[in-house]
């Protein structure tokens, strides 16, 4: 056997290696434990218990477990609130304690949760799954949950302490004159009209230039306000409320008059002003956004003439979408079908049937249109026949006139 050099190291190093191996177990246990410790596990268990008690085991078994989220690609967010708030769409938990309470039904009907999620209206942090951080209590999240707690902290003058949420209503409903359920925002909009804010300020793109443009006032960072003369909490909201109630108290140089607003009025306007952000709202979510092409003045006038003139009946029923009735002054924007001024004659020559007969039992394209899109009662069909005869008479009259005019 060859020799092996003696070494002093094993005696000292082996126990050390063993100790470090044991030490490595500690963080492993710590991590595994912290990964399990989430309140949502408790709430999901609790909800299952309650559903079992109320509706039986089968219903409870169908409740999905684990992390839940509503993924809203257009709004670029995944709302994980429903991981704890599982009862939102369940009947029978209307009076339960949060987080296991039913959501008021009426609002959800107009804002389906699959399309809107939670945080666009309520605020809070969509990514988080622990109450404190999800409700925006954590550091570095600028949109806290706009709930009754926060409203109470601000001593909102209005009865409904969760009114701060209306700020988020106005992100989409900014151009509404009045929004159902947004009492404070409606009040603020009314005050803007009554107090004449636009005399000095640009509001929603229109107004005077004495004061600053307020169109995107909500984008201003909190640090951009001067808090030197503001007592109490330092926030954009608090600054606006104080400034609205007495502008000179915060900015002695200002020419903005004191409107002697009540606390509720000042808070309402502050909420609205903070909602004026340059936030990109997908067009499908924007209330009151024009969804038609703008028309020229001439086009608008021509449309009004058609709607009130002798051919109004054809405009109202929608025939004019494809057909012009030139004798009655109706011009179709598409002109896919033939001019109905000569229909009485035209139908006879094309189909070998009378107009009355054809309208009763149409063939080809008209059979599709009259059975699916424009559905006329027999009485209405009679009116149509009568009007078309009038149109034909008018057409022949116009033709004769133009011939006479051409002769001499």
């Amino acid at each position: 056997m060859e020799k092996r050099t003696n070494s002093p190291f094993p005696r000292r190093d082996r126990p050390l290696l063993a100790v470090i191996g044991i030490v490595l177990v500690v963080p492993t246990v710590l991590i595994a434990m912290s990964e399990r410790a989430h309140d949502w596990r408790y709430w999901q268990y609790e909800f299952k218990q309650q559903v079992t008690a109320k509706y039986g085991r089968d219903k409870a078994a169908a409740i999905p477990g684990g992390l839940q989220q509503i993924w809203l690609p257009e709004l670029k967010r995944a709302d994980r609130c429903v991981t704890c708030h599982q009862a939102t769409s369940w009947k029978g938990f209307e009076n339960a304690e949060e987080p296991l309470r039913t959501h008021p039904v009426e609002v959800l009907r107009q804002h389906p949760v699959e399309k809107y999620g939670c945080t666009v209206c309520h605020g809070g942090q969509p990514h988080a799954v622990d109450a404190e951080e999800a409700h925006g209590g954590g550091e570095h999240w600028e949109e806290p949950l706009l709930g009754a707690q926060l409203g109470a902290d601000y001593t909102l003058a209005v009865e409904d302490k969760s009114a701060l949420m209306q700020m988020n209503c106005n992100t989409c409903h900014r151009y509404d004159r009045e929004t159902k359920g947004a009492s404070e925002i409606n009040l603020a909009k009314k005050l803007v009209r009554e107090k004449g804010c636009r005399a000095c300020h640009v509001v929603n793109g229109r107004g005077g230039s004495i004061g600053p443009d307020l169109t995107y006032e909500g984008d201003k960072a909190a640090e951009q306000f001067e808090y030197g003369r503001l007592n109490g909490q330092k926030s954009s909201f608090a600054w606006h409320v104080a400034h609205l109630k007495d502008p000179r108290a915060l900015a002695p140089e200002t020419v903005m008059p004191n409107f002697h607003l009540s606390t509720r009025e000042a808070q309402a306007i502050a909420m609205m002003v903070l909602s004026w952000k340059r936030q990109p709202v997908p067009s499908a979510y924007l209330a009151g956004a024009p969804r038609t092409d703008p028309q020229t003045k001439e086009e608008v006038e021509a449309e009004a003439r058609m709607k009130t003139g002798p051919g109004a009946w054809f405009v109202k029923t929608g025939c004019f979408v494809c057909h012009s009735i030139s004798a009655l002054g109706v011009t179709s924007p598409a002109q896919i079908g033939p001019d109905l001024s000569i229909a009485v004659d035209d139908v006879q020559s094309r189909f070998g049937r009378t107009l009355e007969d054809f309208l009763r039992e149409p063939t080809g394209t008209m059979s599709v249109v009259l059975s699916r899109q424009i559905i006329l009662s027999p009485e209405e069909k009679a009116v149509a026949v009568q009007k078309l005869h009038e149109a034909f008479a008018e057409h022949q009259k116009q033709k004769a006139q133009s011939h006479e005019g051409a002769k001499p």
């Binding site: 056997m1 060859e2 020799k3 092996r4 050099t5 003696n6 070494s7 002093p8 190291f9 094993p10 190093d13 082996r14 050390l16 290696l17 470090i20 191996g21 030490v23 490595l24 500690v26 963080p27 492993t28 710590l30 991590i31 912290s34 990964e35 992390l67 670029k76 967010r77 995944a78 994980r80 990514h127 988080a128 799954v129 622990d130 951080e133 550091e139 570095h140 999240w141 600028e142 949109e143 806290p144 706009l146 926060l150 701060l164 984008d219 960072a221 909190a222 640090e223 306000f225 808090y227 330092k234 926030s235 954009s236 909201f237 600054w239 903070l274």
Partner: protein
């Protein structure tokens, strides 16, 4: 077939019969074989000097740095699968890592803490090498330790840049403004500064091109560069005859091993002559050396596992910060560079001089000239250092007292400035005591 013969393979030369190398060699020869047969271990000598293995000579800072680098790679790989390097989605993907990915928050903490500690460990390694004069050539012929020092300084710079590029990836306010401050300092280099900044950012402002450039640098270019430098760094240690400590041992034991003029450059001894009949000498007498397997490998294990244990435990307790999403319109107050650049930011402040209404911006002096000078002197120092070869591989020798003192004073200044920048600078860059609360900053709602 019926007459099928069982083929017994003959023993081919060079084929290693065991599946693994031997952890418990029965003889010196087996210990040497185990080193030679292993692809990764064969950059180590078969025999290691007891003095080189000692805890309090090298403090194993290089090994700790390597362990941290390994942790960074291992924790960085899963993060690569989870992080989306896009301006629109990076922030949300990091939030997902924090909140819903299993062990995600811990993984991110491991990566972040390893990165911060690696900057510290590499810096301390450099300090150790300076104070022990380990960049000096000792008694061996053909030693080029000064070049390994230069590579080491390069590796420190790459480590800093790696950490800096990783800073941007979460795309939060911290990231955005730290990179703003950092690249603004770089832009104060005369003539080329603006262009360097533009090249780095892929434009004039920090946006998607910046994010993708930093991402590519962070995950491919810089780790690759560091890997190449690391391999060369290790190879050079072997070529220079091991740690500088070895030169000291050799100088003392010289009389006992008269045939040996240099330290080992080969695996088991030194081969001389060209005839096939080689004579090999065991270089290290057994009273000063031990077998690398298992004594060196065991200690490496201890150091690496210890580092992993410390990081794993720290990461379970310390969470990584993630501020508001990056917002170019709102500057946080105060806006700070990464902590290891805060001594520079502090220098910039301190060299900005106001005379009446006239301001001399310190960005060039404090941000470029002074640190540039420091790095330049650091690189050239092995050639400027005229201390005797006997001062190699020993802590704070008498003959290097003055240069060690100057070096330590500079290090202390850097650390003090870093401390002030990190803990004593508050809103508007005003000075605060670390325990003094900052004035409350306003919030939106």
């Amino acid at each position: 077939m019926a007459n099928e013969e069982e083929i017994v393979p003959t023993e081919a030369p060079g084929v290693h019969k065991r599946r693994f190398w031997s952890f418990r060699p029965q003889s010196d020869r087996q210990a040497g074989d185990a080193i030679v047969a292993n692809f990764i271990l064969h950059w180590f000598p078969a025999k290691a000097l007891k003095d080189s293995l000692s805890w309090n000579y090298s403090m194993w800072l290089g090994t700790i740095s390597t362990a941290l680098l390994g942790l960074l790679i291992v924790s960085g790989l899963p993060l690569m699968f989870l992080h989306i390097p896009s301006v629109e989605r990076a922030y949300a993907s990091v939030k997902d890592i924090e909140y819903v990915v299993t062990f995600g928050s811990w993984l991110r903490s491991v990566h972040r803490l390893s990165a911060h500690l690696m900057v510290a460990a590499v810096f301390l390694h450099l300090v150790r090498v300076f104070l022990t004069g380990a960049y000096k050539n000792g008694v061996g012929r053909g030693q080029r330790r000064e070049w390994n020092w230069v590579i080491g300084v390069g590796m420190l710079l790459v480590t800093l840049f790696l950490s800096f590029t990783g800073y941007l990836l979460p795309w939060d306010q911290l990231a955005y403004w730290a990179i703003t401050v950092g690249t603004n300092i770089a832009s104060s280099v005369p003539v080329i500064g603006e262009r360097v900044r533009e090249l780095l950012l892929g434009g004039r402002v920090i946006d998607q091109p910046t994010l993708i450039r930093f991402y590519a640098l962070h995950i491919v270019v810089l780790p690759g560069l560091l890997g190449v430098l690391f391999a060369y760094h290790m190879w050079r240690i072997r070529k220079d005859g091991g740690l500088a400590r070895a030169d000291r041992v050799a100088a003392q034991k010289r009389t006992e091993v008269p045939t040996v003029k240099t330290k080992t450059y080969t695996l088991l001894g030194i081969a001389r002559g060209t005839s096939p009949n080689l004579r090999a000498y065991s270089v290290e007498p057994s009273d000063v050396s031990v077998n690398s397997i298992p004594d060196l490998t065991r200690r490496i294990c201890i150091v690496m596992m210890g580092t992993i244990a410390v990081i794993a435990a720290l990461a379970a307790v310390v969470r990584s910060p993630l501020e508001e999403p990056a917002n170019p319109l709102v500057t946080p107050n105060p806006a700070k560079a990464p902590w290891y650049f805060l001594w520079l930011q502090e220098l910039v402040t301190d060299t900005t001089i106001k005379i009446g209404g006239f301001t001399i911006n310190g960005a060039f002096v404090g941000g470029v000239l002074l640190p540039g000078l420091l790095v330049g002197v650091l690189v050239l120092w092995p050639w400027l250092d005229k201390s005797p070869a006997s001062a190699t591989g020993t802590w704070l020798p008498r003959s290097r007292r003055r240069q060690n003192a100057v070096f330590l004073i500079i290090c202390a200044l850097v650390l003090v400035l870093t401390f002030i920048g990190t803990f004593c600078r508050g809103p508007y860059w005003h000075l605060f005591w670390p325990w003094q609360p900052w004035p409350q900053l306003p919030t939106r709602i």
